[in-house]
């Protein structure tokens, strides 16, 4: 039949089946009338990140720790921490911008966020009439409720909710302990809150076979022992900051001698808005632990497993050997810590 053109008619039969079949058979008419009809996107599909809030937009989970900003490979996130009228950090972002023309949807920000605050959206209708400002998403655009998260990704959101609930319960049980621990801390640079690598020290034992790198393990140990969230760190930071405010005036007036250990609450450098040089100048005549603390990024983000004070104390006490745990501070902090330790002759 080949030379008689049988194949031609076979082809005609195929197209005829498609033509007439399209009137009866849904499978032969696969086109979707897009603006009116939409295909349900798979639960695991993702487009760009958004920020989760609980109940009201004010109760956002983000504490402006800048870990995602630091980790973002194409550097598309820009965060400025919010402050109250006294200039005190409020542990929430004032500016949170994501440039979706740069974002490569890699989800690393979601992976690194310790607070479950940033998640991947599946909204794909992001076209704009410009390439520049129009494609930058600001805080109000980014904030979406936890209900929305539960709607678009039910399985993932349920797991996250369960985890947060469990942590909240632990926190309420543990609440007295960190408070007690926090109180004596300013008095003297005590050993680290918990020797992080040793599971015996903490009440929360991370299983040996859990899939964590040593850094992650250390962070988790610190995170759990500190009460599970930034909430417990807040009083410390606020207290130290407010004392610092008061003490700043006379500290600058009366050149505190280096020999006398300054009151630990007096930490004028504890302000993420200051530059590294300014912070180091403020801590110039202080003991090693204070200098180390001044080298931190001052966000109290807990990415290292401590707050800024605690991490500095742990390094000074020798219980924490890793100098690269301060994520918001990036390489600047790490190299400064190393330099300080060298100057002190400890490395």
């Amino acid at each position: 039949m080949g030379s008689l053109g049988g194949g031609l008619f076979k082809g005609m039969a195929v197209t005829a089946r498609n033509f007439f079949g399209s009137y009866f058979d849904k499978d032969r008419l696969v086109a979707v009338q897009y603006p009116e009809e939409r295909i349900q996107t798979p639960e695991n599909s993702r487009t760009f990140p958004f920020l989760v809030y609980d109940n009201t937009p004010d109760a956002m989970r983000c504490v402006a720790c800048k870990i995602c900003e630091t980790e973002c490979p194409p550097q598309c996130i820009y965060i400025v921490m919010d402050r109250d009228e006294k200039g005190k950090p409020m542990q929430r972002p004032k500016v949170f911008d994501i440039d979706i023309s740069v974002c490569m949807q890699c989800q690393i920000c979601v992976e690194v966020c310790p607070f479950e605050a940033i998640k991947m959206d599946n909204d794909y209708e992001k076209s704009q009439y410009g390439r520049f400002d129009e494609l930058i998403e600001h805080l109000p655009d980014l904030l979406k409720s936890n209900d929305y998260y539960n709607k678009i990704k039910p399985t993932e959101a349920a797991a996250v909710d369960a985890k947060l609930k469990a942590e909240a319960e632990k926190k309420t049980k543990k609440a007295p302990a960190p408070a007690a621990k926090a109180a004596p801390k300013p008095a003297a640079p005590k050993p680290a809150p918990a020797p992080v690598a040793a599971p015996a020290a903490g009440k929360f034992v991370i299983p040996e076979d859990a899939p964590f790198t040593p850094e992650q393990r250390a962070w988790l140990a610190g995170f759990l022992s500190s009460g599970g969230s930034a909430g417990t760190a807040t009083p410390v930071a606020e207290a130290s900051a407010s004392v610092g405010e008061a003490a700043e005036a006379d500290a600058s007036a009366t050149e505190t001698p280096a020999a006398e250990p300054a009151p630990a609450g007096d930490t004028p450098w504890h302000d993420p808005g200051l530059g590294m040089q300014q912070r180091m100048d403020l801590a110039k005549e202080r003991p090693l632990a204070d200098k180390l603390m001044a080298a931190m990024a001052q966000t109290d983000c807990h990415a290292c497993g401590y707050d800024c004070r605690g991490y500095a104390d742990a390094i000074a006490a020798g219980s924490e050997k890793d100098l690269s745990l301060c994520l918001p501070g990036e390489a600047e902090t790490a190299s400064m810590l190393e330099q300080l330790m060298k100057e002190d002759g400890k490395v």
Binding site: S3, L4, G5, L8, G11, M12, V14, T15, A16, N18, F19, S22, Y23, R28, L29, V30, A31, Q33
Partner: protein, 390 residues
């Protein structure tokens, strides 16, 4: 036209009206009808084509402008009318302007000799078939003018291909039509349509039910598709090879005129095919009193649209054939086949009884087809053996 003139003259209402007025009215009415009906069919054929191609490809086709996209042709027209008309700087301005006009005129002229119903023909030329071939070939002039005047290598290539193709397919197409002229004994399209009347339900006498008529029908449809550059013979415009061939440099309404000319030529060729092989307006009920002409017109347009649908269906199925295959097919297969077909028609005329003639000519044509497709098949190139690549 003459009939209309006679009718108007014999009607007592118009007794006071001068003859010359009646004459011009009888001239203007058929022209007006042709210019109104066929472009309207053209407009909706584009919609039908897009819908059918969509369905073939599991899509819906245009459905946004009006319900079921019913206003889509109007939207297309409005769009093309308002588009910028770009003429290349180096183009030959006058010829570039003239080409689309030339493309449309012959296509419209073709409708002059197509009988829509018994006596419903704009001009009853006694050389109707000759007129068709003379006029339809003129369209190649427009293609070449357009390709040449654009001063663009793709346009010129397309135009060259168009000339080669139309000249090649003209020959088997004319020879395929010769058998009909032989059988009907006339070159008049009206006489050809009348010759196919009678028989069972006005169907069995259609020429397509003779062996030579069937072969002639197939050859003629192939030729008509090549002539109007429809897929799989759209080598002149082959958008994937030479962009759009001869109308690469045309935009706006000039482009639309080219499309219009091409579509009208395809419609006219479908009409001629229906008239010559499918019995024209003959069908069940076309010899009824009073409404016979209406039934005849219905059958004619039904046949025309069926042919158009098959052409669209083919467009949605077959790939474009290569230039060498195209020309080889015309000269090595179609031309000998059409000559054998003339012989078969002659045999059919002289052999009696007719059932015997039917069988003899069918066998003759089938053997010819077998032999020609073997002999005329494109040369198979040996598979190349690579020394190192394998």
């Amino acid at each position: 036209m003459e009939q209309l003139y006679q009718l108007l003259r014999s009607c007592s209402w118009f007794a006071k009206v001068p003859d010359c007025v009646l004459f011009w009215v009888s001239v203007a009415v058929p022209i007006g009808l042709v210019l109104a009906v066929y472009p309207a069919i053209f407009a909706y054929t584009t919609l039908i084509e897009r819908k059918a191609l969509g369905r073939i490809q599991n899509r819906l086709g245009p459905n946004r402008v009006g319900r079921w996209g019913i206003l889509q042709p109007l939207a297309d027209g409005a769009k093309l009318l308002t588009k910028e008309d770009i003429v290349p700087r180096a183009a030959d301005g006058f010829v570039h302007w003239l080409a689309p006009v030339i493309a449309v005129i012959p296509s419209i002229l073709l409708f002059a000799v197509i009988p829509v119903g018994s006596g419903l023909i704009p001009v009853n030329l006694n050389i109707g078939v000759l007129f068709v071939f003379a006029i339809s070939t003129a369209s190649v002039l427009a293609l070449f003018m357009g390709g040449w005047a654009s001063r663009n290598k793709f346009s010129l290539l397309g135009a060259m291909r168009a000339v080669a193709q139309v000249v090649s397919y003209e020959v088997p197409m004319v020879l395929a039509a010769v058998v009909v002229v032989m059988a009907a004994g006339s070159l008049s399209t009206t006489a050809i349509a009348q010759a196919q009347g009678g028989g069972l339900l006005n169907i069995t006498n259609w020429f397509v039910f003779r062996p030579w008529g069937f072969v002639g029908f197939v050859l003629f449809v192939i030729g008509a598709m090549a002539e109007s550059a429809r897929t799989p013979f759209d080598i002149p415009e082959a958008e994937s090879e030479i962009i759009a061939g001869y109308h690469t440099e045309y935009s706006g309404f000039k482009f639309a005129l080219f499309q219009l000319g091409e579509y009208l030529a395809a419609l006219a060729m479908a009409g001629i095919t229906a008239t010559m092989f499918l019995g024209g307006y003959n069908g069940p009920g076309n010899d009824l009193k009073y409404i016979g002409w209406l039934v005849g017109a219905f059958w004619f347009f039904a046949k025309l649209m069926s042919i158009i649908f098959v052409i669209i269906w083919i467009r949605g199925t077959w790939p474009r054939i290569r230039v060498d295959q195209l020309l080889g097919f015309a000269w090595k297969v179609l031309l000998p086949m059409s000559i054998v077909n003339v012989l078969a028609a002659a045999l059919y005329h002289f052999i009696n009884p007719k059932p015997l003639a039917w069988v003899v000519t069918a066998v003759l044509l089938f053997i010819a087809w077998l032999v020609l497709t073997k002999v005329g098949a494109p040369q198979q190139i040996e598979k190349r053996v690579y020394r190192y690549a394998d």
